[in-house]
Symmetry: none
Subunit: 404 residues, 2 copies
């Protein structure tokens, strides 16, 4: 039997529905990959008695509980107080936490507001979890059968704290048998298209198949038992990989470090000493934004004039224009590769979620052109994001030697 784990989210913004609780889903997946069985999610608001009762219930029900939120400096942040009352561990001033909070403000050239002092008050005998990403330290403690971990609710603080500190700690604290997770990441295929491509694959009863469609990719996930034979694992993954073909831009869980599409592009741009300049239209800066931190992106631009002149063109003329633009940019910048993105369908279609547009991506490397065409539908923001991914994916296919 795996140890059981519950997720507890605190905050009025969650129970009032102003924020969708994505932390709970993220933490659940992480916990399952550690070998826990996740049994329940609960979210409550800012009522102290609700928090206290819930903490007491969970302490008798679960082996582990990850709590997020309610650690901020303001009066509606009640988690530490609730823990103090529920588990009879009065809050104590933690001098090291206080120094860290002050240092956080010093780094930002700001004076620490008096209210932040509250964040240095931790329940007696709790273990502090240092937070290098924000002001609120986390903390952990055991009550009854349950090991509680309290983390800030801001995802950009919660996630690194969990990965860097909490996860390694849980792995030593519990006897966990880690299942093996392999994730095939794709761009350009929807979930139902993926299901269709893999429908003939025989999946053993003890392997769990799952899907996750996010903004950066669509993931096909295979969860194997901890003792699944490695040859059989490799064989099944390779069957999936062949069925999904060149849409797969990375496979996670076989040893190689993977991340988003820009990260995979970076691996090969750096190895091959490539530089890139790009002209965006539909993606409107978002393609450059996805490449933040990589030095091979030398120049990126968005110009309304380019869009307007491209709007009335047929597909042959559009392609010629894109090629001309690419050559222009190549001459002016001296980069080794140029991406140009144009679209047809008109501005009205771009903004109307029920109308589709056609996105043309052209890649110029040396004297060779490569091109892809994609029909995109959905809201303006969805079209913007898909266009950014699909244009960048042309470069990925070129670098990985895949079909274009």
């Amino acid at each position: 039997m795996n140890p059981t784990l519950e997720i507890f989210s605190q905050g009025e913004e969650i129970v009032t529905g102003q924020t969708v609780d994505t932390n709970a889903a993220w933490l659940s997946q992480e916990a399952i990959h550690c070998g826990f069985t996740v049994t329940r999610h609960t979210a409550v608001g800012d009522k102290l008695t609700d928090l206290i009762n819930l903490l007491l219930d969970i302490s008798e029900r679960a082996d582990c509980c990850i709590c997020t939120g309610g650690l901020g400096p303001t009066s509606d942040d009640l988690t530490a107080e609730a823990v103090a009352q529920a588990f009879n561990r009065p809050l104590k001033f933690d001098a090291i936490a206080f120094e860290q909070i002050k240092a956080f403000f010093v780094r930002r050239n700001r004076v620490m507001p008096e209210v932040n002092r509250k964040q240095a008050m931790l329940p007696e005998t709790a273990t502090r979890i240092d937070n290098a990403w924000g002001t609120a330290p986390g903390f952990s403690l055991k009550h009854q059968r349950c090991w509680f971990v309290f983390l800030p609710g801001v995802p950009s603080e919660m996630k690194p704290l969990f990965l860097d500190y909490v996860k390694p700690d849980l792995l030593t604290r519990f006897t966990l048998q880690l299942p093996q997770l392999v994730t095939l990441k794709t761009i350009g295929l929807g979930e139902s298209a993926i299901q269709e491509l893999i429908k003939d694959i025989q999946i053993p009863f003890d392997v769990q198949l799952g899907f996750r469609a996010g903004t950066e990719d669509v993931q096909t996930k295979l969860l194997f038992p901890f003792d699944y034979p490695s040859a059989a694992l490799t064989a099944l993954v390779s069957e999936f990989s062949q069925s999904l073909g060149d849409y797969v831009f990375a496979i996670d869980g076989l040893g190689e470090v993977t991340d988003d599409l820009a990260f995979e592009v970076d691996k090969l741009m750096t190895v091959k000493n490539h530089t890139l300049a790009l002209v965006e239209t539909v993606s409107h800066g978002l393609l450059a934004a996805k490449c933040v931190g990589y030095d091979w992106l030398v120049k990126a631009s968005y110009e309304q004039g380019v869009i307007q002149s491209a709007q009335a063109m047929g597909s042959a003329e559009l392609l010629d224009t894109a090629k001309g633009l690419a050559r222009d940019v190549q001459e002016k910048t001296g980069v080794t590769s140029v991406l140009v993105q144009l679209y047809s369908g008109g501005k009205e279609a771009l903004r109307d979620k029920d109308q589709s547009i056609n996105v043309l991506s052209v890649l110029l490397v040396g004297n060779r052109f490569y091109e892809t065409n994609h029909t995109i539908v959905g809201s303006l923001n969805r079209k913007q994001n898909q266009a950014a991914l699909l244009t960048l994916d042309l470069l990925r296919r070129y670098l990985q030697g895949k079909a274009i």
Copy 2:
């Protein structure tokens, strides 16, 4: 006192994190707009005893409960069975529900699988909720103090069922009074800085104050009772607005439609017939990406050369360079306004979450320059996002006639 309402989501896909529970957030907002106080969200998987215990707990705790999921035809859909056992109301065959399920398949030219017969089994004395969007009928019933509503978990069935049938029914069943929500949206102030600025304001006991720090803004929220006098409401909001000063870029809930920062900028850019060109560094395309859909953004560019040449500069030289660039862009593009963003601190500091950088934003309108300086710290992605917002906020302050 508003009646209390809980959301209960059933499904392994929720507790394992494969699906983010967007239903809970959507239903909570709907319930609050009806005048309920939402007190808790709970998600559990496919264990019958978990479901039964939770139903019994809720029946003693809440005035109303909306449950989603677990109404499907397969063996892991246990909601009706759990209700039958928890509330001692044996399942009975509902002939009308069965006809509707059969008709659903006939309309699709398919034969009804035998398993779907299960969906016509409803707890004794429950009120059936006809489902025109799928096979599973919903149902509702009262146990102890709580009115329970059971709906399918598929959002495309759940939402119309709630809006068309459940909501009108709840409005007659409960005495509900709609609260008034006012939200002050700011850029450039953290939650604790806000708390500090407003600490002297006397907040009446029946007004709820809340905060929400998101990627696009930091929100200060005031929730007033339905019958709060409008003069007193306006007076309190204006006290908050004056305390937060020119950081407030929009106030939601007083009649005007508001959205993110780019939306507020758009209102005035369009009225004043402005056009904009911009040069980004730290924000790396994200500022342009935030302005997607607005025609006044004529040209945006990111150039590594600009960054490299700016890296070794002192602040006076940095300012001169930014101004020179702005004038250059103005001449070449003929726009009415130019934004240039440069930074000092170096590339290493940009990527190191513990180091800060200084972001200089320069706005040129006609012959006049405006500038702001901000120290930004945090991960690369946080710096990128903050830089995009703060540079755009300079334009917002100019357009709204605020202090720069």
